[in-house]
Symmetry: C2
Subunit: 281 residues, 2 copies
Amino acid sequence: MVAQQEAPQTQGALVIIGGAEDREGDCVVLREFVRRAGGVKAHIAVLTAATSMPREVGDDYIRVFERIGAEDVRVVDTEHPDDADRQEAVETIEQATGIFFTGGDQSRIIELVKGSRVDQAIRKRRAAGAVIGGTSAGAAMMPDTMIVEGDSTTNPRVDAVELGTGMGFLPGIAVDQHFSQRGRLGRLISALVQQPAILGIGIDENTAVIVEGDLFQVVGQGSVTVVDESETTHNNLAGLLKDEGLAICGVRLHILPHGYSFNFKTRQPLIPQIPTLSMAD
Amino acid sequence: MVAQQEAPQTQGALVIIGGAEDREGDCVVLREFVRRAGGVKAHIAVLTAATSMPREVGDDYIRVFERIGAEDVRVVDTEHPDDADRQEAVETIEQATGIFFTGGDQSRIIELVKGSRVDQAIRKRRAAGAVIGGTSAGAAMMPDTMIVEGDSTTNPRVDAVELGTGMGFLPGIAVDQHFSQRGRLGRLISALVQQPAILGIGIDENTAVIVEGDLFQVVGQGSVTVVDESETTHNNLAGLLKDEGLAICGVRLHILPHGYSFNFKTRQPLIPQIPTLSMAD
């Protein structure tokens, strides 16, 4: 399957990966990114802003994307504050059909890239159909409300999570990554209590959501946990001290493995065409 | 507050502790057990069946229960298969107002105690009002459907959890312990998919649910996560291979900290008399 290199008219997909994706074996998740970026005709730009080891991490992704079969893979390094305004970096983005953010620290992406000329070029390319991918920190930065950091394996508490501004590629959502592997339900629920209207998406390692239009599809080895707090009641936050437990009643949870889809607008999962069994039967 | 030593007419409470309860400081959780067992007039029997170190663990609980102020604390050791049929053990139970199961391996409790004369004596004492407490393995064994073992920090899968028969003090429930601390949502959800009618209760460390009649109340530092899968749909289990992810849509979740209660019959949380805020506001 060879995708067309001409820029399509619709906004490009997002490929949001929960970290620790396979880069040695079948590369199921990264293949989906490259496939949507044009397959063997893909031009990939790898942004290493999040990591403190840009050279090693960049080289690693060059290797895997070339092995999968992308035509051209370049690293856009933004170690220094002005790097993301350099003409060469902008031109690499302008030629990319797929733009990939590595893991590391999501705050570095915001500090080093947000508002830069590279950032502007990314948004233009996305509007023209280029795919934006990211793993771990590169996943966390996708929404407008970003989980900056927080405790794993905790019950929900006001101080369990720190929120900040993300890149805003996927508004109205909070993304958490390494989700099952690090036991992060408590911190994602804590984040949503502070931002009640948004939907929470917890992505497991070696697993991705691929966002196209109002839908996302799950790809990979683990699951995606959708946390919907739109109909919950909780205790009076103003009356809570920061280390006290949050009470949250009526959270709606969907857990979706490979092949399942979810509609952001209706907030409903789409069940694939295999027989399903009602638990009430 | 000194409870009466006369046996009340109603069945005794269950004090189900999620493990790692404080035994050095305020002992909030263990105090509730001793209080319900008669306070300073409590006669406590500590069952060490679950642990492979019965002497050390038994001595530890003797110390803490005596320090809290129980009048009499005795260890019922059942290291050997016949120990739970010994007359001395049965008599200790017959005089107990509180019966406490330590942590360890829940399967050992079933093997060594279930169906014994000590087991019969415990049920008689409970019917007469004695409190039954247990922590960790001593919590897991409370239901009729027991989580024997399973993976922590996993997404829901058919093979994530092994179920067995518990002591059956709390029917219709599955209990998981060390819940937030070990990221056990995936395994509790997996357990409930196999047993759709039952309600899941995930208890954090240093936290307890106190079951009295149709209600439980949360006590302690962490939270209790109630998992209700009664209205979920899931994928066709017969079509799944054991390591493939379960799809589960519409799980209802309540997370309840200290002071909150839950009604097993109505499956509804009871909000304490403090103002609550609807998230839809």
